[in-house]
């Protein structure tokens, strides 16, 4: 009977805090529900950042195992569980990226990125939508990780600046400026792609 009551309590309407308490008490149902809620976010973030499904799965698993072993470290008063999990994922991810390609990690420079200039506007209507999407996606993958993660969190995951700042452990202003720079790069890439397409047509 208690098991039934417990399961009824841990349904989809339970808050993250309730699930967190239950998970701390050793409830596997609560852990499963937390995974169903936030596993997608963590997996997508790590997949988009690493570009490697196996690595993304491994990191996602590590994140939730960390949730299991370091569950007492989460403080609901300081932020949402989703951002806390993303923060853990990000730390794991950067370790992975450092191992994989150390050079890419040092490519990004805040000062030089600020000097990026956007090319002149081109005829966007001439670029097919699919090609534009593919170009932006490719450009996103080529962004330095520090800019890419901001775009993923703010533009793709639709987090607000405060949430992204919590995940990245940086001030909100830094999130804004990085997002601006990342979009400027992508816009430049898009314009070049548009120009190339127009040139080909002519």
């Amino acid at each position: 009977m208690f098991e039934r009551l417990r399961r009824r309590r841990l349904d989809g309407e339970s808050s993250d805090e309730q699930l967190h308490r239950a998970a701390r008490a050793g409830s596997s149902e609560a852990m499963a529900e937390l995974y169903r809620r936030h596993g997608g976010l963590v997996y997508r973030f790590t997949l988009r950042m690493s570009g490697n499904a196996a690595a993304a799965e491994e990191i996602t698993q590590e994140v939730f195992l960390a949730l299991l072993t370091q569950i007492d470290r989460f403080d609901a008063g300081r932020g949402a569980l989703s951002t806390w999990l993303c923060g853990i994922a990000r730390r794991q991810l950067w370790k992975y990226l450092e191992r994989r390609d150390a050079a890419a990690m040092f490519e990004f420079d805040e000062e030089s990125a600020a000097e990026l200039q956007c090319p002149s506007d081109g005829p966007a209507e001439l670029l097919l939508r699919g090609e534009a999407v593919a170009a932006v996606r490719a450009g996103l993958d080529e962004l330095p990780p520090a800019l890419r993660e901001v775009v993923i969190l703010c533009s793709l995951e639709e987090m607000n600046y405060e949430q992204a700042a919590q995940v990245l452990s940086v001030p909100v202003g830094t999130v804004r400026s990085r997002l601006h720079r990342a979009k400027a790069r992508l816009a430049g890439l898009l314009r070049r792609e548009m120009a190339n397409t127009e040139r080909k047509r002519q």
Partner: protein
């Protein structure tokens, strides 16, 4: 500006496709297995800890019980000792023969020496609410006023001794005027603690 707006639309489209991706289901089962494994690894030491705690509680309870019993005895003992401080002789009676009759005679060696002819006393002592004993009957045992407050003796013995009439005062008894200077033969009812409870003048 057109490009920025276009970029935002493209990012929104990529975002929609991006968010359609869910967490891999196989990770959930692996995670649950890890949860179960961890829970069992946690519960074993917990069970051990519970047993240790239970044993500690039992030991503590046993210690407290022993302490309470010891303290109760300690409280009891001073009363006996206090009562024993009442003027009088410490008796160390020896059980009398099973007949229960007083058969001993006084010792010829000393007036104050005890003649140990103890025996079990059957029947009750005459109740004396007054401190001063009366000597109406030589056959009856009279409770000693100094024995009031002593615990009830589980076993009583009778010892016979010779004493002076004036010695009766130290037991809280009123000495008859004509007996003050005489030597009396008396029988004392003595408890297992060696303290007298009652007296009877034999001669």
């Amino acid at each position: 500006m057109t490009t920025e707006r276009e970029l935002d639309e493209i990012l929104a489209e990529i975002g929609r496709q991006h968010r359609a991706t869910g967490a891999p289901g196989r990770l959930e089962s692996a995670l649950l297995a890890a949860v179960d494994g961890r829970r069992s690894s946690i519960e074993k030491p917990r069970m051990r800890l519970r047993w240790v705690l239970a044993a500690a509680v039992l030991l503590l309870a046993a210690g407290v019980t022993a302490g309470v019993i010891w303290q109760a005895r300690e409280v009891h003992r001073p009363q006996s000792q206090q009562a024993g401080a009442v003027p009088g002789l410490q008796f160390r009676p020896e059980p009398m023969p099973p007949s229960g009759r007083v058969t001993g005679r006084q010792s010829p060696r000393s007036n104050s020496a005890l003649t140990r002819r103890g025996g079990r006393v059957r029947g009750g002592l005459r109740d004396s609410s007054t401190k001063k004993a009366t000597w109406n009957s030589l056959d009856e045992f009279v409770p000693l006023p100094v024995s009031e407050g002593l615990p009830t003796a589980a076993e009583l013995s009778v010892v016979r001794m010779r004493l002076r009439g004036s010695d009766l005062q130290q037991y809280g008894l009123e000495t008859p005027a004509d007996a003050a200077g005489q030597t009396l033969l008396a029988e004392f009812v003595v408890g297992e603690d060696g303290l007298p409870r009652a007296i009877r003048i034999v001669r």
